[in-house]
Amino acid sequence: MQRHKKTLGSYPSLMVMFSITMSLTVLGLFALILIHAGSFSRLIKENIEMNVYLNENISDSLRMEIESTLMRKRYTQSPEGKTQIRYISKEEANKIFVETYGEDFTKILSDSPLPASYVLKIHPEYSDSVNMRQIAAQIAQLPGVREVDYQEDLINKINNNIRTAGLILAVSAVVLIFVSVLLINNTIRLAFYSQRFLIRSMQLVGATRWFIQKPFLSRALIQGALSGIVSVLLLSGMLYIAYSELRELAELRQTEYIASVFASLIVLGGAIGFLSSYRAVHKYLNMSLDELY
């Protein structure tokens, strides 16, 4: 005859593992999207440019004065400390225009109407709309500056989208974790129900609460961590496919962040398993077992 021991703490583990794995995978997916969105937005922010158009016939000394003023500002420095100012003379501006649009003003007009300008790359820290507006207003005050121009909408859109996406992801993650905790709670309730005679026996012979809950907790911890590992494998697969399909995405990869997300998922899996089963085990241990019948 095959003996089938009712080991304390055993319960339909596949169901619990499946649910933790699912929520961790979605959570991890969110984190990965956040990481890539973050490096994408940083890439864009680092490349945000401001055009400072100069007056016609500006003297060289005034132009140099403007240039040195701009060079001293922190917002024209790259995060690495390099000054990011590019001068575009009237001739160059005309050349770029011809290259882009194929029309040459100088053929019709005696002189190009395009003014000389400075192109500033703005430090990512100053890329929000308030700072950009202030910087533009400040530069516009400088003598010899005709106009300051930048793409205000794009920056606003990027900033808003990142905030909205972050909020949605955070809310979804909370909901998913809540669902996992609920599922673990129900599964442990079922386990207690199916093992109520065993637990009652232990209580009657004088087993301590710790002795009774230990197997539940250790199992939940291991299963949670295992779920974390499974979800890391799933996410690695997804990343591999995504990177090989979208080469540009691979450029946004930040290996250290991804590694820490993976490590956190395993720890989080263990923690979710342990804490929610701790909660459930305590709840049912405090209950008279007759109430479970």
Partner: protein, 237 residues
């Protein structure tokens, strides 16, 4: 018969409640080391509630009670397992685990109550199996044993931690008279070695054949045969 001065069980003006319903009011009694006491009373009279209060499964809210040195009014949750190790519990609904051998059943209780040394555990199991007269059956499964043999194992299980008192609720309820008598003799033997026994029973033949002190629950009160004379064969019992 002489007993040591400190009682193992002492209830003083205690109310026994089940789900906030008063079952027994203002009861007082003592049980001393080495005593054998029958607990009788009709079904539903409150025997089980009294026993459950005794091993701290039901809280004591009014009056005082001490069991094996633990005050039931002030006992803390974490102390309850230690109280229960000093009480051997033998119940009809507290049977052996059918999925493991007799020896494993006993090992299970030992592990649950803090036994660690495998050699000591094995030695204790053989000692107990000898004591209940089933030395050769430790590798059998519970279903391979007769009802009487199973009940002997349940008694062995209750004796593991050398309890001060055994609490037995209808221990011979399902057994035929001859086997039941064997179990009763085993209880007597255990009692002789100093373990007190509180046995709830409906079996009046036992009380006549092995007369000793009787506690009778009647109309929410306890009558004590060591204090007053009453008729145990009252048909209401």
């Amino acid at each position: 018969m002489e007993f040591s001065s400190e009682p193992i069980v002492e209830f003083a003006n205690a109310d026994i409640l089940q789900d906030d319903l008063l079952v027994l009011r203002n009861i007082s009694f003592k049980i001393f080391k080495g005593e054998f006491v029958y607990l009788i009373g009709r079904t539903g009279s409150g025997k089980s509630s009294l026993l459950r209060t005794l091993y701290a499964d039901l809280p004591l809210k009014k009056g005082n009670a001490k069991v094996a040195g633990y005050d039931l009014r002030t006992i803390q949750k974490k102390q309850i397992p230690h109280l229960r190790r000093k009480i051997g519990i033998i119940f009809q609904d507290f049977q052996l685990l059918n999925d493991r051998t007799i020896a494993d059943n006993l090992f299970f209780v030992m592990k649950a109550t803090g036994w660690k040394d495998t050699n000591k555990m094995k030695a204790r199991v053989s000692e107990l199996m000898m004591r209940v007269g089933l030395a050769t059956l430790s590798n059998k499964m519970p279903h391979q044993l007769s009802g009487g043999e199973q009940q002997r194992i349940v008694i062995a299980r209750a004796l593991i931690n050398e309890p001060l008192i055994l609490i037995a609720d209808e221990p011979t309820g399902n057994l035929d008279p001859e086997v039941a008598d064997g179990i009763m003799r085993l209880f007597k033997e255990i009692n002789k070695s100093g373990t007190a026994i509180l046995m709830a029973t409906h079996n009046h033949q036992f009380i006549e054949k092995y007369p000793t002190r009787v506690l009778k629950i009647e109309q929410g009160e306890i009558l004590d045969s060591s204090k007053i004379v009453f008729d145990i064969t009252n048909p209401s019992v």
